[in-house]
């Protein structure tokens, strides 16, 4: 009788980011699913834990000149530069549509200074549709500046990271994730700074700085020059960062970087990710997230894992 009951109950895939309960650990990551509008034509987003929107900024941004996408071995470089229509447009034209997706909505924000982060956190907190905020501290394609100090990336400086997270923490009761960069010497101290300032989760990793050159014209393929590398090529790098972060903080990790299949996702969970983010894979297979959520469940059934929480960080060497 007891075992029957357990069978009926099935596998528990629910995970938490702070007070936010996700129905499963699969998210689509920022910049790879827009605001859900286009990708929902190809996949049932309600089958996912949630989506992280394309980063919004207070003012609209045009992004960088094109070309701003180029293929690389098993991946791609981008230099979009946070093109978006701004906070007001999000509130008036996007928030309503997001409500209908039936999945958790995590809004990614990037400010040019602390006040902008505060304004966005405050405005977003008033919207019922917003389940959580991801603070983008690590876009490789825009200039970063906090408190008058310029940084290549905010996420390269633990004090700047701490300041931004603290300000957002003071402003909102929503769960917050800090999105960190792999372009650092020691991710542990940055992750600790974010945790210490009140982050509920660490999103890792953003893209790696990368370059491609056309040997005929001797010009860089991207108009901007340097871009951010993503896709299957960066998966081992991302996994190693997840391992390092897992060993240094207690808050959950939203692991991302090259996840294209459920096997990739399980690898991240075993390494220490509580949540997995599907990014660049969406460009090639817009239903990747849904397939990955199904695959994780099947893996758990086959391996008699009743609760996904018991799988996290079980890696051995």
């Amino acid at each position: 009788m007891k075992s029957q009951k357990a069978k009926v109950k099935g596998q528990n895939l629910k995970v938490r980011i702070g007070k936010l309960l996700l129905k499963n650990p699969v998210l689509l990551v920022s910049g790879t699913c827009g605001y859900g509008d286009e990708i929902k034509e190809f996949t049932d987003l309600s089958k996912l834990g949630g989506i992280i929107t394309k980063t919004i900024t207070v003012e609209p941004r045009e992004g960088n000149p094109t070309p701003r996408i180029i293929e690389t071995p098993s991946g791609m470089l981008n230099s979009i530069g946070l093109e978006n229509k701004g906070l007001k447009d999000f509130i008036h034209n996007k928030a309503g549509k997001l409500e209908k997706l039936g999945t958790a909505i995590i809004v990614s924000i990037a400010g040019s200074n602390l006040d902008e982060f505060e304004v966005m956190a405050e405005e977003l907190s008033r919207l019922d549709v917003v389940s959580a905020i991801e603070i983008n501290l690590s876009c490789p394609n825009v200039a970063h500046s906090i408190d008058g100090n310029k940084f290549k990336l905010t996420a390269q400086d633990k004090h700047a990271t701490e300041k931004v997270v603290r300000r957002v923490r003071k402003t909102t009761g929503l769960p917050i994730a800090a999105k960190l960069s792999p372009n650092v010497t020691d991710i542990k101290e940055i992750a600790k700074a974010a945790e210490g300032a009140g982050a509920d989760a660490i999103s890792a990793i953003n893209t790696l700085f990368g370059l491609r050159v056309d040997i005929n014209s001797k010009k860089t393929f991207l108009a901007k020059g340097t871009g951010g590398l993503s896709g299957p090529a960066i998966k081992p790098v991302a996994l190693n960062f997840v391992k390092e972060i897992y060993s240094s903080v207690k808050i959950p990790i939203i692991g991302m970087g090259g996840i294209s299949t459920w096997e990739d996702a399980v690898e991240f969970i075993i390494t220490g990710a509580t949540v997995v983010g599907v990014g660049t894979a969406n460009f090639v297979n817009p239903s990747a997230g849904e397939e990955i959520a199904r695959g994780i469940k099947t893996y758990m059934e086959k391996n008699q894992v009743n609760d996904i929480m018991s799988l996290i960080g079980t890696v051995r060497s």
């Binding site: 034509e41 094109t66 996408i69 293929e71 098993s74 991946g75 294209s260 817009p286």
Partner: protein, 265 residues
């Protein structure tokens, strides 16, 4: 638009470096319009990673044809596919050409300007114009590197179109770019809406065509080319500047009114 597994019916060379692949798909046959494109996964592995966009060349009863140039790794893989193989395709995508500027009163010329394999969607358009029985003379201006690379000359003629060719090496038609014979068509007059131009090809060609159309005060639609990541409007890679702000080539285009494009980025 849908992600579908299509069966390859044939995959044949039609000119140097150029092939036509025929796909079986009721969905693509029913919904594809000239100027729209499909995004094809050429590799079953992670490299080449991204899909490749191809304009619809012919809409058949049971599927569509794609005309493609074998350029790099992805198109080499596509070129090796055999009849019976399955191809992962997303489509049809984007907005196609509009035939509404054609009034069909017989006094108006339809001018198609193609550079290289940019001829593919224009041929689809010519077939549609014929199917709709629009009274218009179609002039197809086709530019290519050499005579061996010249595409669809016979096909256009079969449709009853007048073909004017230009090759960069002069091996067929006028020597140089296709915009030179385009200029000759007007005979120095402003054509206005006595003509309607549709163009597809490399960006510098499109820009030149747009300038000519502007000088003639002639309606002109162009299919824009930008490097695309996803083809469905989520990666924001193929953004271009229009008079109405930034637009995505994949989702808002690839066909635009030439007047709306802000050049020189």
């Amino acid at each position: 638009m849908k992600q579908i597994k299509t069966e390859i019916i044939s995959n044949k060379e039609i000119a140097t470096d150029h092939k036509v692949i025929s796909l079986k798909s009721a969905h693509l046959a029913k919904h594809s319009k000239p100027g729209q494109f499909v995004n094809v996964k050429c590799s079953g592995q992670t490299a080449p990673f991204l899909r490749r966009p191809f304009g619809v060349y012919r809409v058949r009863k049971d599927g569509i044809d794609i005309l493609y140039k074998v350029i790099g790794e992805a198109t080499k893989l596509l070129s090796a596919k055999k009849p019976g193989d399955i191809l992962d395709v997303i489509g049809p995508l984007g907005n196609g050409f509009s035939t509404s500027p054609l009034n069909g009163n017989g006094e108006q010329k339809t001018i198609l300007v193609a550079g290289g394999h940019g001829v593919a969607p224009l041929y689809a358009l010519a077939e549609e114009i014929k199917k709709k029985n629009k009274k218009t003379d179609i002039i197809a201006l086709i530019g290519a590197r050499t005579k061996a690379h010249l595409l669809c000359e016979k096909e256009f003629k079969t449709l009853g179109a007048k073909v004017i060719a230009a090759t960069e090496d002069g091996s067929k038609g006028a020597k140089g770019f296709i915009t030179k014979p385009l200029l000759n068509i007007s005979g120095g007059y402003e054509l206005g809406d006595k003509a309607c131009i549709y163009a597809c090809g490399p960006k510098p060609m499109l820009r030149a065509v747009a300038e000519i159309a502007n000088a003639w005060n002639t309606p002109c639609q162009i299919s824009m080319e930008e490097y695309m990541g996803c083809g469905i409007g989520i990666c924001m890679g193929c953004s271009l500047v229009t008079r109405d702000g930034r637009k995505l080539t994949c989702k808002d285009g690839p066909v635009f009114d030439a007047k709306d494009i802000v050049w020189g980025q």
